[in-house]
């Protein structure tokens, strides 16, 4: 059985990260071609920073579950409420990668591998929901572009997050 071992401080910090993730929804309203790219970088960064700063097992999984619950209530503009699943499955992938690193999320390689996996799964599940559940016709090239844009931007975000996360962690611990 999964055992969650979070202090009140961890919970409060995760709440802050969740809020930061939800603020990102504002990027969609801008609705430009670059929105998916921006979202990917931003999410990738926030996820990795959260993992580094909180630094406990199941951080990402918890955030994934919480994010999914919230997204189930706020329908995604494309993909409806069902699209929430991609956050959960993505989180499981990233969590599994980070689970292997000790201490949690401190290894750049596993972080990047995990966030890459997150990006692939995120788009994979999303595209699957669009095409198979809603019956949207998407040409293959569009799906392939998605497989480049999403994992790519998440990876970039993850790298940024790794750099920022360690810096932020130091500052937070020294105040």
């Amino acid at each position: 059985m999964v055992k969650f071992d979070f202090t009140k401080r961890d919970i409060a910090m995760m709440a802050a990260f969740l809020a930061l993730m939800m603020v990102a929804e504002a990027i969609w309203i801008l609705g430009s071609v670059f929105a998916p790219f921006g979202i990917g970088i931003y999410y990738g960064a926030v996820l990795i920073i959260a993992a580094i700063v909180i630094g406990k097992r199941y951080t990402i999984l918890t955030l994934g579950i919480a994010k999914t619950i919230i997204m189930l209530l706020i329908p995604d503009t494309y993909g409806g409420s069902l699209a929430a699943i991609c956050y959960l499955i993505g989180a499981i992938v990233l969590e599994s990668a980070l689970y292997l690193s000790e201490p949690y999320a401190e290894n750049l390689k596993t972080d990047l591998l995990g966030i890459l996996g997150y990006g692939i799964i995120y788009w994979g599940v999303y595209a699957a929901i669009l095409t198979m559940v809603y019956g949207m016709a998407l040409p293959q090239w569009a799906i392939i572009i998605g497989f480049v844009v999403y994992p790519g931007s998440f990876l970039l975000g993850g790298f940024l997050g790794y750099k920022l996360g360690n810096k932020v962690k130091n500052v937070i611990e020294s105040v």
């Binding site: 009140k8 969740l18 309203i29 503009t77 409420s81 809603y134 016709a137």
Partner: protein, 263 residues
Amino acid sequence: MIEYVNSNSPLHRLDPRSKIIFVLCIMAAAILTSSYIMLSFLIIVSAIVWIIADVPIKKFKPVFLVLLVFVLMGMLTQAVFYTDRPDYTGSKTVLFNIMPYNVPVIGSLPVTVEGLKYGLVFSMRMVAVLLAPMIVPLTTHPSDMILVLRSMRFPEWMILLLTMSIRFIPLTFQNFNTIRNAQKLRKIKTGYKDLIPLMETLLITSLKTSKQMALSLETKAFGYSSKRTSLKTIKFGKNDVIFSLFSFIVLGIVLLNTGAAYG
């Protein structure tokens, strides 16, 4: 953003769980059917529920505008891509090509009659799938949503995490704006590069607030016992049973008519 609108409509008084059942039924029906008539029926049902919900539609103009853009885009993409599907075997009546000549990989993007027809179905489906779920956050106070989670036996700490995150959102927006303003005051031209230090400051201020919140939580006996009582409770009443039955009937009508109708 889609957020709670205070009112005392019949919908506001329902148990959130019956509203969730309604949403699930509408979504299932919309996904399973491909009939214009049934999809129109679903959209009309959702629209009626919106009207009953007594929310100022005007306030959600931007939401509907975004919806409209996506519907148009949905129609256009389907008009082009539908007949390109590898498993598509029907006829292909090309109206015109978007690209003047055949572009490698993408092709000449022909708009077909079959595609337009399918695009209409697809867009209607998306409208139904989006319109119904919005009703839940619009008519359910967040604290009642929390009660649903509690009734599903979510651990208390996760419920706290969710309430606190809702509470953190306005604070985060406010901090974001202030920091952005501070940057604009110091630098004449701010660019993408300035977003990174902005995010760093936003993170640090947010996390500092979290630290103080954790301290305050300590003094409020959170985690005192594994059990926690709740002041408010939700009850699945007679009206909820009626509304849920109505939802199932809508689903049933759609299912019965799906086999026979178009698609």
